[in-house]
């Protein structure tokens, strides 16, 4: 804490009517900040007044500032009166609609740091905010992690304003609200909470805001940090908040009665609340025909089961219950393992870890090298390991199949949870075979049954069935035809349950 800040890093200095005092405070606050541009001007012809402009280079729209603001102030202020100069400058001097009033030094500094320009006028203990933000950004990028065959290819970016506009384009409803908050004592990260006020459950938005404000943190740089601070079951590997980079998915979630939380500088937005079926739903499920979507969904659920269970099932069958599978297959597997020096469990763990390493290396390396590593690691090393009889070919197939299955899950965070739980099942199966496998399944199911996302049980509609009647069941494992998806999910405001009806009814 220093003389100008309190313990929460809020600026405590008071704004003054004396411009020089205000300049001294701002100079002291922004000492050794070479990117902060300050300019003192004297404007007016017969009645002159001193003004002070301050902004951060690289964060403002220089054209707006130079052409529409400074030029106007220098050349068009001849009729500046002797009193009410503040109001005159605000109305005549600034050729932009987006201006605001700042009454405290804390607000002034925050405005500057957010990329807007602040104008102080001698004789007034308030300042004018000129909205001039222009961050360097990559525009609206193409989606990389949630790719669809049919549907929009747009993705959220790091700029909050762009992200908000992507939602606004899709939902043109006056009831779509945008609630701004700031998180981070030092980062002061802008967060927007978007929801439709008559669709969202009562109290949910306040609960989310309270959860966000529960912690006093230095800085938030991604929505993932916020997600971890708002979860109630922090120990669970399963995400209790859904994240997405797709604007259409976020818009769809808002229309279901959910709340979207956007974090500045993060291309992933958070969707509150969530259930397990949300993680198996992809955007193009709703753009394609219902039969195709249903088949794809069923495949995803089966793949999810394989992703978590296949290696453990293989271990239990080979080590403890080989009589479960047909004898020719057992002999085939045994022949494939002939000469391998390691036990099945070691083989599985080594290959799983190897795959994790290749996967992690592929993410960290730049584009072209990443795919090369994938090919080198997957094909050549795997092939070589089999040829050297270090692992059996069947293990390579098992691990590869498991990986492919985990990649079919649309939500990456949810798929990550499966990776962790897979090891639990592997360990239990290694010691207790099929019995251990079942124990692991029981532990995971019990854990999932106890999870909630902002009061909504995770396993809806598979559990707590009577709550939601038909709405979630029609869009869970199977996707009913679009005309049959008439109701919003259980977590929406129950007074606005119907989302689709025939025009004349």
């Amino acid at each position: 804490m220093d003389i100008l800040h309190d313990q929460d890093n809020m600026v405590t200095a008071k704004i003054s009517t004396n411009l020089k005092e205000n300049i001294d405070i701002l100079e002291a606050l922004f000492v050794e900040c070479s990117d902060v541009i300050k300019r003192t001007l004297v404007i007016g012809n017969y009645n002159k007044v001193q003004i002070y402009m301050i902004y951060i280079d690289g964060m403002v729209n220089k054209e707006l500032l130079e052409e529409d603001t400074i030029k106007n102030l220098i050349f068009k202020m001849d009729d500046l009166p002797s009193d009410n100069q503040y109001e005159y400058i605000k109305e005549k001097g600034l050729r932009t609609a987006d201006i605001g009033e700042l009454l405290t030094m804390q607000n002034i500094t925050q405005t500057i740091l957010s990329g807007d320009t602040v104008l102080l006028i001698d004789g007034y203990d308030k300042a004018i905010k000129i909205a001039s933000r222009f961050y360097p950004n990559r525009g609206v990028p193409e989606t990389k992690t949630e790719v669809v065959v049919r549907g929009s290819k747009e993705s959220f970016s790091e700029v909050l304003i762009i992200n908000r506009s992507l939602i606004r384009r899709r939902i043109r409803d006056t009831k779509l609200k945008v609630k701004p908050i700031q998180v981070g004592v030092r980062s002061k990260t802008d967060i927007s909470i978007m929801y439709i006020e008559d669709l969202v459950q009562e109290g949910l938005v306040d609960e989310i805001v309270n959860k966000i404000n529960d912690y006093v943190i230095d800085g938030i740089f991604d929505s993932g940090m916020l997600e971890q601070l708002t979860e109630s079951s922090w120990y669970s590997p399963f995400p209790q908040v859904q994240s997405t980079e797709r604007p259409d998915k976020a818009a769809s979630a808002i229309l279901e009665g959910r709340v979207v939380v956007m974090v500045d500088c993060s291309p992933m937005v958070l969707l509150f609340p969530t259930t397990i079926v949300s993680f198996f739903q992809a955007s193009d499920d709703y753009y394609n025909r219902w039969e195709l979507a249903s088949i794809t969904r069923i495949l995803r659920y089966i793949a999810a089961f394989f992703a978590i269970a296949l290696p453990a099932f293989y271990i239990s069958v080979i080590n403890f219950q080989p009589e479960i599978i047909p004898t020719p297959l057992t002999l085939s597997l045994a022949a494939a393992r002939d000469g391998v020096p390691f036990s099945v469990v070691i083989e599985v763990i080594v290959m799983e870890v190897a795959f994790e390493l290749i996967s992690e290396a592929g993410i960290r390396l730049p584009g072209p090298m990443g795919s090369t590593v994938g090919i080198v690691g997957g094909l050549i090393i795997g092939n070589s390991a089999v040829a050297a009889n270090l692992v059996s070919p069947i293990i390579v197939i098992i691990v590869a199949l498991t990986a492919i299955c985990s990649f079919t899950i649309p939500n990456e965070a949810f798929a990550q949870a499966f990776r962790l739980n897979r090891y639990l099942l592997i360990i239990l199966s290694a010691f207790l075979g099929f019995y251990g496998f079942l124990l692991g399944i029981m532990i995971i199911v019990t854990h999932l049954a106890g999870l909630k996302s902002f009061g909504i049980p995770y396993l809806i509609p598979f559990a707590v069935c009577e709550v939601d009647k038909n709405s979630e069941t029609r869009d869970s494992i199977l996707r009913f035809p679009t005309f049959a998806l008439k109701e919003r999910p259980a977590y929406a405001n129950q007074k606005q349950k119907i989302k689709l009806r025939k025009k004349n009814k």
Binding site: I324, P326, F434, Y435, M442, T446, A463, A490
Partner: protein, 371 residues
């Protein structure tokens, strides 16, 4: 629609829980019970036993509709704390005996089917720990687990049993009414004992979202289990015969080995079917641990029932260490249930409610409304 963590379940959830409780471990031994006492007339014992069970359920639910929720609280107001504690001991013994038998029974099946070379104590210990985790999470979580597993467990088993109809030798099932009336009635009584989970409906209303004065109808659940037991008996005895069925307590598992599934991909489908059955058994055992802890907590007037879970699990484990053959254990357990366990489940609530009516004690819900 926010669901609070208040340990409350819905009527639909409680019905599914009842089906699971009646089917999980009792289902495995019903064919043995019926065939052992009445041979081929086991079909009749199951039908009569199910009818008895429905009547039993009506009595229990009638009594619980007078109590309207907290059984222990009502009992303490009706007969006093000392007598409630005395009655609690009967429930404690019954639940604990059922827990020990269930654990030993499932442990024996697991050892026989899955883990021949593994130490029995390890199987039991891990079984108890896993079930205690589910009990620890509360009745709400247990209900959701059952809802999640409900169709996953029941549908494949029923399909397998229906496939087993093809292998039935009618000579194993007919003619019927060849046993004496005494055997049939005795068999029906033993089948009725398999439905003893119904007596927990004296306690379950405390966990229902809306414990109303009106009778809660669970007859369809009992009827469904009755039909299931009938199918199970027909397939088991039809395939193995009476002698084959009475050779082992879990003859049902044996018959699952014999049924051929189309495709033939899985050679030992009894392993797969038993694993599904095992999932149901986990919930049953966790139910017993939960109620033991819950009742003890209520009687002692403590805040959290979770503190009692581990002690009961440890004691149950120590008791199962006693080297006793499962068939002998079953015999002792059967006699206990027949002469003490089942009669007490009617007598104790009748005494409590009768005294409560005489003393004009109101039900728990009525008492709350008055307050």
């Amino acid at each position: 629609m926010v669901i609070e963590d208040n340990n409350k379940i819905s009527l639909k959830q409680s019905r599914k829980m009842l089906v699971f409780d009646l089917f999980s471990i009792p289902g495995l031994i019903v064919p043995y019970l019926a065939a052992n006492t009445a041979g081929r007339d086991g079909i009749l014992t199951i039908i009569i036993g199910t009818v008895f069970a429905i009547l039993y359920a009506i009595i229990i639910l009638r009594l619980s509709s007078c109590i309207q929720g907290g059984f222990i609280e009502y009992s303490q107001r009706s007969v006093g704390k000392i007598l409630t504690a005395f009655f609690y001991l009967f429930y404690l013994v019954k639940l604990f005996a059922t827990l020990v038998f269930s654990v030993a029974f499932m442990g024996s099946i697991i050892r026989d089917t899955f883990l021949v070379d593994t130490n029995f104590n390890i199987i039991i210990a891990i079984l108890l720990l896993t079930c205690s985790y589910t009990a620890f999470r509360g009745v709400e979580v247990r209900a959701r687990v059952i809802e999640f597993l409900y169709y996953i467990v029941l549908v494949p088993i029923i399909i397998l049993l229906l496939l087993g109809i093809k292998g039935i030798d009618i000579n194993n099932l007919a003619p019927i009414i060849t046993s004496s009336g005494t055997n049939i009635i005795a068999g029906s009584y033993y089948v009725l004992l398999a439905y003893s989970a119904i007596d927990l409906f004296i306690i379950i209303p405390a966990f229902l979202c809306k414990p109303t004065k009106a009778k809660i109808k669970f007859n369809w659940s009992i009827g469904f289990i009755g039909l299931f037991n009938l199918l199970l008996f027909c397939v088991t005895v039809g395939n193995l015969g009476v002698v084959g069925t009475t050779k082992k307590l879990w003859a049902t598992v044996t018959v699952m080995q014999m049924i051929k599934m189309p495709g033939g991909m899985i050679k030992r489908q009894d392993g797969i079917m038993l694993s599904l059955w095992l999932l149901a058994a986990f919930t049953f055992i966790s139910m017993l641990i939960f109620y033991l802890s819950y009742l003890t907590n209520k009687v002692l007037g403590r805040k959290d029932y979770q503190y009692f879970i581990l002690p009961f699990v440890v004691i149950a484990f120590l008791v199962t260490l006693i080297k006793i053959d499962i068939t002998t254990l079953f015999e002792y357990y059967g006699k206990y249930m027949a002469y003490i366990g089942f009669p007490q489940s009617i007598l104790i609530p009748v005494i409590i409610v009768s005294i409560g009516k005489l003393r004009k004690i109101k039900g728990v819900e009525e008492e709350k409304e008055d307050e």
